[in-house]
Symmetry: C2
Subunit: 288 residues, 2 copies
Amino acid sequence: MRDFSSDHRWLSLNTATVRKQGDLVQIIEACARHGIRAIDPWRDQVATVGLDRAVRAVRDAGLELSGYCRGGMFTSDAARRGEVRDDNRRCVDEASALGAPCVVLVAGGLPQFSRPGSAASKDIAAARAQVEEAIAEMLEYATQARMPLAIEPLHPAYAADRACVNTTKHALDICDRLDPARTGALGVALDVYHIWWDPEVMGEIARAGRDRRLFAFHVCDWLVPTRDILNDRGMMGDGVIDIKRYRATVEATGYAGYSEIEIFSHEWWDRPMDEVIRTCIERHRTVV
Amino acid sequence: MRDFSSDHRWLSLNTATVRKQGDLVQIIEACARHGIRAIDPWRDQVATVGLDRAVRAVRDAGLELSGYCRGGMFTSDAARRGEVRDDNRRCVDEASALGAPCVVLVAGGLPQFSRPGSAASKDIAAARAQVEEAIAEMLEYATQARMPLAIEPLHPAYAADRACVNTTKHALDICDRLDPARTGALGVALDVYHIWWDPEVMGEIARAGRDRRLFAFHVCDWLVPTRDILNDRGMMGDGVIDIKRYRATVEATGYAGYSEIEIFSHEWWDRPMDEVIRTCIERHRTVV
């Protein structure tokens, strides 16, 4: 496992971590101040400053990207299929403009939550089938654009409203069906928050590495108690996840990319940007 | 699938559902008023009125039990092992006195949450190993007492603090290792709240049925949003779970026992006991 204790060369900041403290340009300036070399920006943050300005800011700061968040939300009723497809194609185009190594895909849950206004459904099996179909369609477009897609399995607590792909195994099974040749066009993004509880995850991480499907690795922590199921994620070290153990397993597969910090937290959003980033760097060097 | 629309013969009330509205004797009286024929009481509720009085109240009301909640919380540090073992043996004895068909086991999460005061750990694999060892030990005692044990897999959101057995497959794998002869001494209790998200659950339900391991079936609903991860469970029909689909799958295996209603909800705890029970009966007949 790489030694992170003496620098933060392999820290990437998912820009949602400080989304309330400033716009994307201000976040990029803060990264420059703190010697952070990579980010994973969100589409809405890019849209707020404009794609051209975002592209320039990333380039001027000499930043790399560790991903682009996020494509997906594939589940909808029939009337919204075209809208979903076009939305995801634009996401690929933006990722290309920004020089992202992959688009992170959050599958979407039941259609009424994934694409509001869609007819309500309780059929999670149908949602899963629709997700797979839509990824297959998006993959054609993304492959032509040479933009890899990384399916992110989300914690089962989000199965209804954010993502019905909830285990690493499920995500990799989809990859195997849609990209049996393991071309590098389709893989997974693994976040310890979403996968730490899974009794089968260590074997599935090894499988992802073996098949060259491990495109991104995200960290934060699981707090006890978790007071808000979406926005009470913990700073690394403040919760119960043995993060080093997961990173060791990920790196044992040959993964040598960024360790991306993504924290959705009302508590951390309320603190100054520089304090949050300083804390991220310190925890990256000590507990990640 | 059995027709529940014209009566509530197969409704069992888990007494946690109305735990704030009255003691166990008052709950039993309410069940008698509403023609409910079975309950699943909690140990602390029994302790509050006293075991002898609880036994008499159950007998006088002519109630059956659909389970006894709960044994488990197996994870602890070394100093507390004896305490955990004795506690679970007492649970078996109480279940026998009450005439329960099984003890429901909630495994426990990390030791510091399962048995407060235990040394803190982030090693969920070690917790799982300890759970399996402790179930093996409890099984010897329970087998002599002819009291079946039903492992309840809990939603992965509880992996840290309540149960590190989080999938039906994991629970059944433990059963296979500890009771390979499928004697009827060890099985599972399945609650739609905990398992509905699992992409493999339908196959695992079939496996549980085939192996005669399906000892109990619980229902409530998953609300969106879930405002409190422990105590914001929904009344059946108010959430996103297609409950009938799970019951159909469970009954297709031959299960013909109670459909037990277990709702932890600040909202429902704030309403009068008779209103809650009337609503349970109505939903049992329409959406379960």
